[in-house]
Symmetry: C2
Subunit: 351 residues, 2 copies
């Protein structure tokens, strides 16, 4: 399964479908869980780590026997570094889980809607991905999966605080819900900074494309809850859904305003981005993402050729990434060569 996953740019979350997918690219739920009486990854010895891997692997197999969706098990150190990097680029694992060392494992289903990191910061990090704004739907899947696993594994759970986690910010529900939003108009009008920095007061946080500490390139932001305690899972999800809808409305309104107030500037920006993707011979991933962002908005606003709608720009986001480009080309390359290959690839796509 992993060979297929790393060979394709598409993933469950990149499908251009689901409510409001023109602005909310994808929804993701993550549950942090730990097994009873085994030290958490930061304090594990070799045996502890191995025990967790084995227990989770067996549990997943049992789920499979009971007719649940098949999850494929991998030890991360058996996956070559370049392919681990692709899993990261596809958001299926975290940057920490991509690094060498430790008894790291992965369970993943065939369409990449489910990915469980084993021995990341917690023993288990269940992730469910959906395209568009579908947090409740993702929650149904995550909840069922969690229940099924809990019937096989003994989770560390405290009746008052809830699920115990490595980091206190995850204690309680252990739930991190997030949406990836594409807000070029908010960025262009310099509203993004203000809007997203105010989220903290509401218990949410905004980060860049690859999580904490990464820059918001391509006008993409991940919005997630900061609070996991004192709210039910459904409350968290509903609050984030409400917030996402507000962002959708604000982005839509701003796009309309831009089209009305500075139509030439918008057409110019979108046109030039398209021109770069179609004609550049050197294209780094950051510029590719920024141009894809403008083109995506342009397509949505009807400013570019209608045929471009057929292009899945979420997939192209993945395609633009360094490791994916190398896997696609079939050889490791220095950044300079990658920029040439990427340019060629995009020129083909946009011709």
């Amino acid at each position: 399964m992993i060979e297929k996953i790393v060979a394709r740019a598409q993933s469950n979350w990149t499908k251009a479908e689901g409510p409001h997918h023109h602005i909310v690219l994808s929804s993701r739920l993550r549950l942090a869980r730990n097994l009873k009486k085994i030290p958490m990854p930061a304090f594990q010895n070799e045996t502890d780590g191995f025990t967790v891997l084995e227990k989770v692997k067996n549990a997943a197999e049992n789920l499979g026997y009971r007719g649940q969706e098949k999850l494929y098990f991998y030890r991360l150190n058996e996956i070559p570094a370049l392919e681990r990097q692709i899993l990261l680029e596809k958001h299926l694992i975290s940057p920490e889980h991509c690094e060498e060392g430790g008894n790291k494992g992965l369970l993943i289903n065939g369409d990449e809607a489910i990915s469980i990191m084993i021995n990341e910061e917690d023993h288990l990090r269940l992730q469910v991905f959906s395209p568009g704004l579908q947090l409740e739907e993702a929650w149904q899947i995550a909840d069922q999966l969690d229940d099924a696993l809990e019937s096989e594994l003994e989770y560390a759970f405290h009746s008052r605080t809830g699920y115990l986690t490595a980091c206190p910010t995850n204690v309680g529900t252990g739930l991190r819900a997030s949406v990836m939003v594409h807000v070029p108009a908010l960025v262009l009008t310099q509203q993004a900074g203000r809007v997203f920095s105010s989220l903290g007061q509401l218990g949410f946080t905004a980060r860049g494309l690859y999580g904490e500490g990464t820059e918001a390139i391509g006008d993409l932001y991940q919005i997630s809850n900061q609070i996991t305690l004192g709210q039910t899972e459904l409350e968290i999800i509903q609050n984030l859904t409400t917030l996402a809808l507000q962002i959708v409305a604000k982005e839509e309104k701003t796009r309309k305003w831009l089209l009305q107030e500075c139509p030439f500037q918008i057409k110019d920006r979108v046109g030039r981005a398209f021109g770069v993707l179609q004609n550049a011979a050197i294209l780094n991933s950051q510029e590719a993402l920024n141009c894809l962002s403008d083109v995506r908005m342009g397509v949505d606003l009807g400013l570019l050729k209608e045929e471009l709608r057929k292009l899945n720009l979420c997939e192209l986001l993945v395609l633009a990434q360094p490791a994916f480009i190398q896997r696609y080309t079939g050889r490791t390359m220095a950044a300079q060569e990658r920029d040439g290959v990427r340019a060629e690839l995009f020129a083909k796509k946009f011709r």
Copy 2:
């Protein structure tokens, strides 16, 4: 005739023909002449200026009767400012001759190969334009025209110093020979500055697209002789031809070197320029010229679609100019609106 001239971007010098026209866009000869016993334009009263206009006009008519090419006479103050500006953009008159005031006149033939400015700095400034590197051919035309006019007019001439002119730098032959060269590779490799600043020692000077004090945009330089005294006309022309051939060789060599040493960078530059011309919605004339320059080199190096060869990039240089854009659109426009119209126009041309 003037209505036709200001309505078309083509001119004799914009034809993509003549020796070495891929680098030497055009050749131009200019002869400065003054009539005997009439004050030069800077010291003229109204009557003097009018006398010069009438004398030259009559002389030109007599030339026509004798079977020479017909020259059309205009008083500059009868030509609307916008159309004067187009004559300037087409290099048919000088910036000074474009300005209001004085008894300025113009004689021009049907294909714009000949343009005579009357009461510019001198009483007469005969100009002959040719596409490519054809200074000797231009000189044949200029010399015949000069002789024919001299048979009708009494030139101020001194047996020792030659033709008298308003500015001492023109005394003697009164000849300014110039070539317009397109040297994107020399500019890109930062050789242009060095090459062109050293021309002074050889008795030549390099200026931008619109003469003295104008910036060298679009990688275009006008090279002309500084010395008009102590050399025959043919010596001046031959020296400039030799110099132009050296510049052609240097530019060609540098282009080859660039293609070999940094093919991706060149393709990228050329591709992006094409992308801008094809897709921008706001395009000022300077950016248009710079992009045209890169595209012109790209076409020449076979880096762009073969069909682009059909586009006459010299004509597009004229088309990009502010006054021409307004005449073309049929209304006066502020710079911002022009940039939109220009972008639309170029998008059509390059689609």
